[in-house]
């Protein structure tokens, strides 16, 4: 259990520290690259929460997919990485206040609510459990996802393609 606490604090520190770089770095590529350790930190938390399959998905889709997409777009649009223009608008203090207030409210709710502890045990083999759920009660969700993906593909291609 000491190990779990150690792992949690380590992962939380990695996630938040990289998150701070993502949010504050004046260099957009640095932001995007710092997104990777932040996402990997969250991956570690999933593992601590016994969500192995989700951890694999997180790395494959977020770190290996979305980050690459973001890096591509930065490289396509920002010649010199945006270092020559200010990256922040004039709402700095207000933004910080609003974000801080939102986080404070969430923390207050999280610490004051007596969370109920449910009964039961987590399935130890998460891919199997998720698969059974997709082919059972959540079949519609499973099939619906493919439609969402189709719409995304069509929409994004329509938008991104050069109109000739």
């Amino acid at each position: 259990m000491v190990g779990e606490a150690l792992a949690f604090y380590l992962l939380a520190a990695i996630t938040l520290a990289s998150g701070i770089v993502v949010v504050t770095s004046p260099n957009l590529v640095h932001s995007a690259v710092a997104l990777v350790p932040a996402l990997l930190g969250v991956t570690g938390l999933y593992i601590l929460l016994n969500a192995e399959f989700l951890a694999g998905v997180q790395v494959l889709i977020y770190a290996g997919g979305i980050t690459v997409l973001i890096l591509f777009v930065i490289m396509l649009t920002e010649g010199a990485t945006g270092l020559r223009v200010p990256q922040r608008n004039e709402q700095g203090p207000i933004g910080a206040a609003v974000a801080g207030a939102a986080a404070a409210v969430l923390i207050a709710v999280a610490t004051r609510t007596p969370w109920a502890h449910g009964a039961g045990v987590l399935p130890s083999y998460t891919p199997g459990a998720i698969g059974e759920s997709f082919l059972g009660p959540n079949l519609l969700l499973f099939e619906g996802t493919s439609v969402v993906l189709l719409v995304t593909l069509v929409g994004a291609i329509l938008i991104a393609r050069k109109e000739d």
Binding site: G3, N27, V29, H30, V33, V36, E52, F53, A55, G56, V57, V59, L60, A63, G64, G65, T67, V68, L71, F72, M75, Y125, T126, P127
Partner: protein
């Protein structure tokens, strides 16, 4: 499973890691580079390295020692942080693959660093991290060749990740598990190469592209892009990228052995020997292909994945699913 004190586990993990890293560095990067040079020489009717050590065996050792003494240069315009961290990311992501590769068996159980129950998904996830490292190297160098090489490489690797994923799913469905050890055990009676030849061909072609080798090596096309994304890297940093490349190539070959050739299984000889024999045969084929075929153009390369490999892999998945699930 018996519970050991935590420090024993930690020690075991550290020792295991050191063994695997050293073995991979020696077996893949050092022997692999030597093998590559000897095979290319043989195919091109040259002699190849013969002077250092008996029959040239120590050539790569000498090269490594040479590279250790080289100065490392940080180009003035490069982004120092990203340029330097890319060197760690690429080989580390490649070596992380080896966690789930079973390379033998003993009476106590299979020889594997850890038999994760999301096995092949873990492999796919860690190898996808290499793309990020390559983009970092390409962009961090602030060099036109490097950036163009990095972008090409990323576009190519992501395109070929999809057919590999589809093949992994086909095999996982046959074995009913994502664990690599279970997949090997499922081939006790019949290797999957026999029942799934199409999958193997798709996997093999996509694996060559995934590790950026000829005929899919336009990422590092020497005649147009110097060395691609690692053009600006010198000395040991260059060697680390080579370690990453060869490490990933051997990991792909080892995965092919695991998925299609029954892993460590074989008669008479010890299991590790069987595994190594199969591994080196596949690696030999990789090298043979590299030195035999000319290079693709980038449009042909991307079209090939999206218009041929992916439709065929999808069809193969559905047909296999039909036979396995409905007919049986």
């Amino acid at each position: 499973m018996d519970v050991m004190p935590w420090y024993v586990e930690v020690l075991r993990a550290i020792v295991g890691t050191i063994i695997i890293f050293s073995a991979v560095a020696i077996v893949t990067a050092m022997l692999g580079v030597l093998l590559e040079r000897r095979i290319s020489a043989w195919i091109q009717s040259r002699i190849g390295p013969v002077h250092v050590g008996p029959r040239g065996l120590l050539q790569t050792v000498a090269n490594t020692v040479k590279l250790l003494q080289k100065e490392y240069i940080l180009p003035r315009n490069a982004d120092a942080v990203i340029f330097s961290s890319a060197v760690i990311v690429v080989p580390l992501a490649a070596l992380l693959d080896y966690v789930v590769l079973p390379f033998g068996t003993t009476r106590a159980g299979p020889l594997i660093y850890r038999d994760l129950n999301i096995g092949v998904l873990y492999f796919a996830a860690t190898s996808s991290l290499i793309v990020v490292g390559i983009l970092m190297a390409g962009w961090g160098s602030n060099n036109k060749y490097a950036l163009l090489g990095g972008l090409r490489s990323a576009a190519q690797m992501v395109s070929y990740e999809i057919p590999i994923g589809l093949v992994l799913i086909t095999i996982a469905m046959l074995a009913g598990s994502l664990s690599t050890v279970t997949i090997v055990n499922a081939q006790t009676h019949l290797w999957f190469i026999v029942s799934q030849p199409v999958s193997f061909v798709i996997f093999f072609v996509a694996a060559i592209a995934e590790v950026n080798r000829a005929p899919f090596d336009l990422v590092e096309a020497e005649s147009e892009l110097v060395a691609g994304y690692f053009s600006e890297y010198t000395g040991m940093r260059f060697a680390l990228f080579q370690l990453g490349e060869y490490g990933e190539m051997f990991a792909m070959a080892a995965l092919a052995v695991t998925l299609f050739f029954g892993g460590w299984q074989g008669p008479v000889l010890p299991s590790v020997v069987w595994f190594l024999i199969k591994l080196y045969v596949l690696v030999f084929v990789f090298m043979w292909v590299r030195w035999t075929y000319p290079r693709f153009r980038i449009d042909q390369l991307l079209n090939f994945s999206w218009k041929i490999l992916i439709p065929v892999a999808l069809a193969n998945l559905v047909v296999t699913a039909f036979f396995v699930i409905v007919v049986h």
